[in-house]
Structure formats: C-alpha cells, structure tokens
Symmetry: C2
C-alpha cells in the first residue's frame, strides 16, 4: 500500500508529538491532539502501514509509535515547511552579530548565538583558507633565530606560526623577503600560492636560501595543516539537559565535539546548493553518533561557500525550528562577512 496524504499527515503528527512530549505516541492521543477527521481505528490502520514501510516503530508491543530514522528523513524531506523565525528572534540575531569587531569575534558570537537559539550544540567552521585569498604576509623576528610568520586573508582570518631558523636573519633580508613574498602572493587564491612559493628560494642569494625556504615551508604547512582546521564549538551544556535516555550517547558526542577532525568531516559534507543539509542518526556513519542528528549549511557571500556551520543534537529534535535557525544565522553571517 502506497503512502497517501493522510498517512503523511499522520507521520507528521507523530513526529511533532514525539518531539514535543518525548514519549511514544498512540493512536488515541493523535486524534485528540490533531484534527485528523477520522477515528482512532483508521489511524491505527495507517500506523500499521507506516510501520510496515519502516517509518515508525514501537519500542514494545502495547506501546505507542516512535519515528525511525527513515521516518524523520521523510518528515524532513517532504513535510516540514520551514518555520519562519519570529521577529524577536531575527532582531536578536541581528543585534547579537552586529557588535562584532573581528573575525574571531564574529565566529565566537555566531556559535554562541546558534547554541542559544537552538538549545543544542553548535559548531562554526572558520572561513576556509583554501577558498580565501591572501591579503598580507607579515614576518616578525622574535630573536634567537625564531621568526613569527603571520598570514592574513581577505576574510579577516589571521593565522600565525613560529619557525625555527638555522640562523638569525638580517633585518635587511627580512625586509626583502617580506616585500617579495607579499608581491608574490598578495591577492592570490590559495590554490595558486603553493606553486608560487615553491621556487621562491631560488630568487635569493645562496646563503640566504635556508632562511627563505624555512619561511616558505611554514607558510605551506599553515595552508595544508591548518587549512580547514579551525572550528568553534558552543552549547555542549545544552546536550546534558536532554533526557537521560540520550545520555548513554553523550560521551561519544562530546568526544566528537572535541575532535575537530571528526567535526570537520561532519560539517564538510554540507553543500551550498540545498539551503540546509540534515543528516539523521545512522546516516552519519560515525560510530557513537547513531542517535545524533546534524543540521548544517554553508555560509559565505553569494554562492561562494567560505565554510560551514551547524548544530548537533538528538535525532528527536525540532527539525523545522533548527533548520530555520541554522539557515537564518548562516544568512546573517554571510552578510556580515560580506560587509568587510
């Protein structure tokens, strides 16, 4: 038997009630709380079909039904109209983000805002280095043959890294290197930087090459190693408030939130094409996150995806609300970054 409109309606009602009450929902409760226009017996038949199709399940005989991952998936794909944010919420977002003074500030405000709005754990990736262009490279001698290389992108991201050099460079060499380096890479796409920097040492006198290549190596390492690496996290405490049914799964989730590599992989699959990506339970193959859903989207001005942000929470989350919040925050962040 195919899934007709009323059955979809029933599924929607089940998901909504289950998310709200956090308890298996039965046929009688459904007809009481929603205007379905049919009796509970009919609903029971529909539920039996939905269960056959794998959209819902019962924890045990004689209990109500609970949505499966597949059920949530259908709910998200077909049923939930994006719930518009309230005017108050939109005002809150705007005023919260407007005071930002810095990229660091923007990111940290964003992630806290998202956590507060969704009451779940929020993650924001810094603008990807590989998709930015270089604005400036600065070299600062620290004495003792140590050199600080500071890299600044057009998105306002600042990466620094210390290099140990074999010998302390002359001030004049440093100035020369700085000038050439900036002439070489400023305004460049990051993909092109690597190829340019490689043959930089050959432009210098032989005895200076070890210094130059030290700097070049660090620069490249920054790009590769820390390229996508930085993320900000907030709202982990929100996860603890979720029922104790969830807390068997709390530890792997907290671990994932600390393991930035894992986090980035989870964030990574967000595409800019669809407005908001939702990955439900088992769909994200990471072990230990089978009861966790992830709502992400890309941000960035226009079509340019600078990075991703999103929210993690239990599969039984308020998808429409979360998706709306994630989408809205991404839009505002894109605006703010664009203004720079």
């Amino acid at each position: 038997m195919p899934i007709d409109d009323r059955k979809l309606e029933v599924l929607r009602a089940i998901v909504e009630d289950y998310v709200a009450t956090q308890e298996p929902v039965g046929s009688k409760a459904l007809v009481d709380r929603h205007q379905l226009g049919v009796s509970s017996a009919t609903i029971r038949n529909d539920m039996a079909t939905l269960e056959d199709e794998g959209y819902i399940t019962q924890p045990h005989t004689s209990a109500g039904r609970v949505p499966t991952d597949k059920g949530y998936r259908l709910f998200v794909d077909r049923l939930s109209k994006v719930k518009p944010l309230s005017a108050a919420e939109r005002r809150a977002i705007r005023s919260f983000l407007e005071g930002a003074v810095d990229l660091d500030d923007v990111i940290s405000r964003t992630v806290r805002l998202l956590a507060q709005l969704t009451r779940q754990a929020a993650v924001v990736q810094y603008p990807s280095l590989t998709r930015s262009t270089v604005r400036h490279v600065e070299l600062v001698g620290l004495g003792q043959a140590r050199l600080l290389v500071v890299l600044i992108t057009d998105t306002g991201r600042v990466e620094q890294r210390v290099v140990e050099l074999p010998a302390e460079p002359e001030d004049s060499l440093l100035g020369d290197l700085r000038a050439r380096l900036n002439a070489l890479v400023a305004g460049l796409d990051f993909a092109s930087v690597a190829s340019k920097v490689v043959d930089l040492p050959s432009q210098f006198a032989h005895e200076d090459r070890h210094v130059v290549s030290g700097v070049a190596v660090t620069l490249l390492e920054s790009l590769v190693e820390r390229g996508e690496e930085r993320v900000a996290v907030a709202g982990t405490a929100n996860l603890a408030r979720y029922g104790h049914e969830f807390d068997t799964e709390l530890e792997p989730l907290l671990s994932a939130l600390e393991e930035h590599v894992v986090l980035l992989r989870l964030l990574g699959q967000a595409s800019h094409a669809s407005p908001v990506t939702v990955r439900i339970g088992q769909e994200n193959a990471t072990s230990g996150l089978s009861a966790t859903s992830i709502v992400t989207t890309a941000y960035g001005p226009g079509d340019q995806a600078l990075g991703s942000l999103g929210v993690l929470g239990p599969t039984r989350m308020d998808y429409p609300g979360t998706m709306a919040a994630v989408g809205a925050v991404a839009r505002y962040v894109s605006q703010i970054l664009d203004a720079n």
Copy 2:
C-alpha cells in the same frame, strides 16, 4: 573526642575505598581490605566519632559511610602523600609536550595531555598578558580604513585585533607609528604600557591624532578585555563517563567550562606558593558546582606565575593522582616555556 592517628587512618581508608568502588563503605569491608589491626567494632566506634565531627556521613541508616567535603579536605591536607608519577607517565608527558612548535601548540597539547592523564576535564590558561612584557607590535593595513593591530609577548602569545579608523592612514604614517610604538613599549612590562601609550597621540601632528588614538585605544582594550581571558579546555567527554549519580550536576559543570569568565575565576585563586591548590565541592562558592572539585596550580618559570592550569571533576576523585599529574604537567610546561 579528638581525632587520633588511627581515626585519620580510618578516614584515609574510607576515602580511598569510596573513590575506588564508588559505594558507601562499611566497617567490615574496611578491616578486610586494610591492615588496621583492630576489629570492626572498634572501627565502628571510630566511624561514629568521625561522623560526629562531620568528616563522613551515611546516605541512610544501615548503609556504609561516605566522606563529606570536610572529610576530603582533611584527607587532602593531612593524609595524601603526593603519589609520584610512573616513569612511563613522565616519559609520555615529556614526549607529548616536546613536539610543540608554538605557544598555541604548547597550550593545546598541554590541555589534552592533562585531560588524558587525569581522565577528567582539564583547563589551561594562556600566559597572562599582564604578567608578560611586550616583544613587538605590528600594524597591518587591511584597506578600507581598517587596521590590524598584532601584539606579541615574550611568552610567544599573539593577540590580534582589528580597528576601524575614521580614515585610511598613509603608509608613511603607519611606518612612523609602528616605529614609535615599538620604541615606546617593546620590552615593557604590561602594567607600564597603559601609562605610556596614553600620551602617544600628542607626539603626532594634529590631523594624525585620531588614527593614533584609535590604535592606542585598541591596544589598551586588548590588554584589559582579553588580558587574562584566554583558556583552553579539553576532556569534557571524560565527565560524561562518570557514574549517572554525577550527571544531575553535569549541565552546570559544562556551562562553567564554556563560560570562560567563570573558569578564570575558578582558576584564578591558585597561588604559586603552595604547590597545588585543591578546592572541594562547596568550597568553590559557584552554584551548581557543589559536587565538583577543582585542582589547580600556577605555572611559569621559577617563581614567576604566568598563568594557571588545572582539572575539574567530581568530588570523589583520585586526589593524590590528580594532584601529582597537575603538578608534574605544570612543571614541564614551565620548563618548555622557559626554553623559549
């Protein structure tokens, strides 16, 4: 009745067993597991005294005893010899910290190490700005009347901040400002920087003063606002592994770990005088942390306290082990930072 030696011994045994088994400990189990040389009846009498004095308590009649905060306090003050780390642990610390390339790297390795060693949540404060000296100030124009001010300390800490200026400064002015600023503040104690910078604008031509004072203001703000602010956290997932008795308290603890202001207050009271500071349960007046203990110490070369680091966990933690780990890590970090 005063607390004689045997009663102390009994208290120690209770704390150790309770920490190990996580269950109230009775008189009989005590004589079985420790060589106390007396019968359980005697122990019962001692326990009654200890309870009268408020060092232990019973969850309910006919249950064993559990240490109170006061009991842990006595245990920590009087009874626990610092448990030396194993050679393997010391080797692990050394090799883990030695690869660090950067201050950021040192801090992030340290905090993860501490979390792993103690299996609890670890916190490390960045070297305090107010106790560092300025090594260098760098100004980088970002176009559009935006200026990046980068501040580098002798401890390797790098703080950056963007200033919006009323107008785009000339390159020459920028160079001049950079030179004067560095001449003024390089090598200076941070306490003295504020007073020096205040009258910097008056050294410049009238039309340049707004630029100069913009930079000066940002510099001062960096000092005040972010002065102590930065901390790194790791190991929150460890807290989730603790028994479900503890998880009522998990949410406020996670909140505290996210609220860096709170964290810094908690870290702040560590003194460099005593090797390791322990604050037990109610002793840290923060609400919601009444079942949490905090083990902190200051780090820094010699007697100079650059910052604090420590561990948070349930009151029923392995104090000797945790104190040893915190102390050892602080020593190693101090060494590493000193070498720079």
